[in-house]
């Protein structure tokens, strides 16, 4: 999984974080180091779609939280991935 949008949503599903914390978290669970441009491109798109929102007081290091709509989207994407994963595993099983 390398889609920055899903990586950010997954990271925020574990709790509110600001940009740098998200980069560290994503690197730990996905072994992918997002660049600052890529990360904020994803944050911008997610906020515009209402899947994440800024939380806490306005600060230079702004934390974000996943919204209900964001959770629904992530869950739906996970289901699709699980289905895809199951199908692929079944087809790869030796006969």
């Amino acid at each position: 999984m390398s889609d920055p949008t899903l990586l950010v949503l997954t990271s925020l599903a574990g709790g509110d974080k600001h940009g740098y914390a998200m980069m560290d978290d994503i690197e730990q669970f996905a072994n992918v180091r997002l660049g600052p441009g890529t990360l904020y491109g994803a944050i911008t798109r997610l906020e515009q779609r209402g899947w994440i929102s800024p939380v806490g007081p306005k600060d230079r290091r702004q934390p974000y939280a996943i919204t209900g709509a964001g959770r629904e989207f992530l869950t739906s994407e996970l289901r699709k991935m699980q289905s895809l994963s199951a199908t692929a595993a079944q087809r790869l099983r030796p006969v």
Partner: protein, 431 residues
């Protein structure tokens, strides 16, 4: 050295910067602000620009394509072709074998290694300067004969000379030099053959009675188009630079006043290219046929010097402001170019004609004995078409193709941006 992150952030859309720039810069600080992150920041800025139609960016893309295409086109080496046609008239009518043989002999002499190396190393030509640094003379001459120089004798005694040079002037001067060399070789050969055949016909007394003759082989033609640089190129450059300046300033400081300033600069730059006076060049060349001078080549250097000095006096009688004169010291039967440059092509032509008329008058006045018999029985050399300024560089079609390609890429960029505008996600406008 600190990476220019703040500058790159300016490439992002203005609304995005207002919302995210502060926290984005904080993130870059936290990550250590390395040079490795710059491509990522730049790529994302590009993506956001593509997702949000910004006409300033569209203009920038279009102009960048144009400017880059122009830059590439101008780096391409230009090739200019100059040509001349000569004709050998046989001593007996319809004796084409004699004419063809003579044409082949003088062409072979001019294409010899010694002759071409002298031509290449002539101080006023300095041909193949760059190539000579990495290649020996044999290789340079072989390439010259294979790619650039052609001297083709036809069966009827016509000699076609063509040469491709890096500039129009170089090409023409080289062909002029080759024509002069062909004439000199021909004249020396005829004189030599004459002495071998019948020495009585060329005694010193008859030679002294022979005077120089001037023949204008072709009157100057009205130049078809302006000398380089041409208006179209200048206009394209002015347009490109003006638009680029306007687009850059507009992106950095998006205020109505700056756009007004940019548009004004663009208009002025374009107008200036059309107001610049561009010179037209009327070109002609005149030939001195002097059997006496030809004789001097082999027998009497003092007479040769005197004759050349005589030519110099004739030519110096024409006001120098009218023409550009090249007088080769020690040359015989040389084609003397006359060039007049003026913003008005008709006036350039008129001035060149006046210069030639003056030369003719002076020459006639110096002709002491008009009944001097022509003692040479061998074939005579005639220049049918003197070299003219090549009207356009050979690289022009390629340059046009690159320009068209650049414009096409720019146009496609615009179409892509407009397409993106209609398929972008809701809510992007607020970013």
């Amino acid at each position: 050295m600190k990476p220019p992150v703040n500058w790159l952030v300016r490439l992002y859309p203005r609304l995005w910067r207002e919302r995210y720039a502060e926290e984005f810069e904080a993130l870059v600080e936290d990550t250590g602000s390395s040079w490795r992150s710059l491509p990522d920041i730049f790529a994302e800025a590009l993506k956001m620009r593509l997702a949000n139609v910004d006409y300033r960016f569209v203009a920038l893309m279009a102009v960048l394509g144009l400017v880059v295409a122009q830059g590439i086109a101008f780096r391409l080496p230009e090739r200019y072709t100059a040509s001349a046609t000569l004709h050998i008239t046989p001593s007996e009518p319809n004796d084409f074998n004699q004419a063809h043989s003579e044409a082949g002999m003088i062409a072979g002499d001019v294409l010899s290694r010694t002759s071409l190396s002298n031509l290449i190393m002539a101080p006023d030509l300095r041909l193949y300067d760059q190539e000579r640094r990495s290649q020996d003379m044999e290789e340079v001459i072989a390439n010259m004969k294979a790619k650039d120089l052609r001297i083709a004798p036809a069966l009827d005694g016509t000699l076609l000379v063509t040469y491709q040079g890096k500039s129009a002037e170089e090409a023409r001067r080289t062909v002029e030099r080759i024509v002069a060399r062909l004439e000199a070789v021909h004249l020396a050969r005829q004189t030599f053959l004459h002495y071998l055949g019948d020495e009585r016909l060329m005694d010193e007394a008859s030679l002294n009675r022979m005077l120089t003759r001037l023949e204008v082989r072709q009157a100057p033609l009205l130049p078809a188009e302006a000398f380089f640089p041409n208006r179209v190129t200048l206009a394209a450059l002015g347009l490109g630079l003006g638009l680029l300046l306007a687009a850059l300033i507009g992106i950095m400081c998006p205020t109505p006043g700056v756009w007004l300033f940019g548009s004004l600069g663009l208009t002025l730059a374009t107008a200036a290219t059309w107001l610049l006076p561009l010179p037209y060049e009327a070109a002609a060349s005149v030939i001195f046929d002097s059997p006496a001078t030809g004789q001097a080549v082999t027998a009497d250097r003092a007479r040769l010097t005197a004759d050349v000095r005589n030519y110099s006096q004739i030519l110096s009688a024409v006001p120098r402001s009218f023409y550009g004169l090249e007088l080769e010291r020690g040359a015989v039967a040389t084609a003397y170019p006359i060039r007049v440059r003026h913003a008005d092509p008709r006036l350039a032509q008129e001035l060149a004609l006046r210069a030639i008329t003056r030369l003719l008058d002076e020459t006639r006045a110096r002709r002491a004995n008009p009944d001097a018999p022509d003692k040479l029985n061998g074939p005579w050399l005639s220049v049918l078409e003197p070299p003219a300024v090549p009207p356009r560089p050979m690289g022009d079609p390629l340059r046009t193709a690159i320009l068209v390609a650049g414009l096409t890429v720019s146009l496609l960029s615009v179409i892509l941006l407009i397409f993106n505008r209609y398929r972008r996600q809701p809510g992007l406008e607020s970013a």
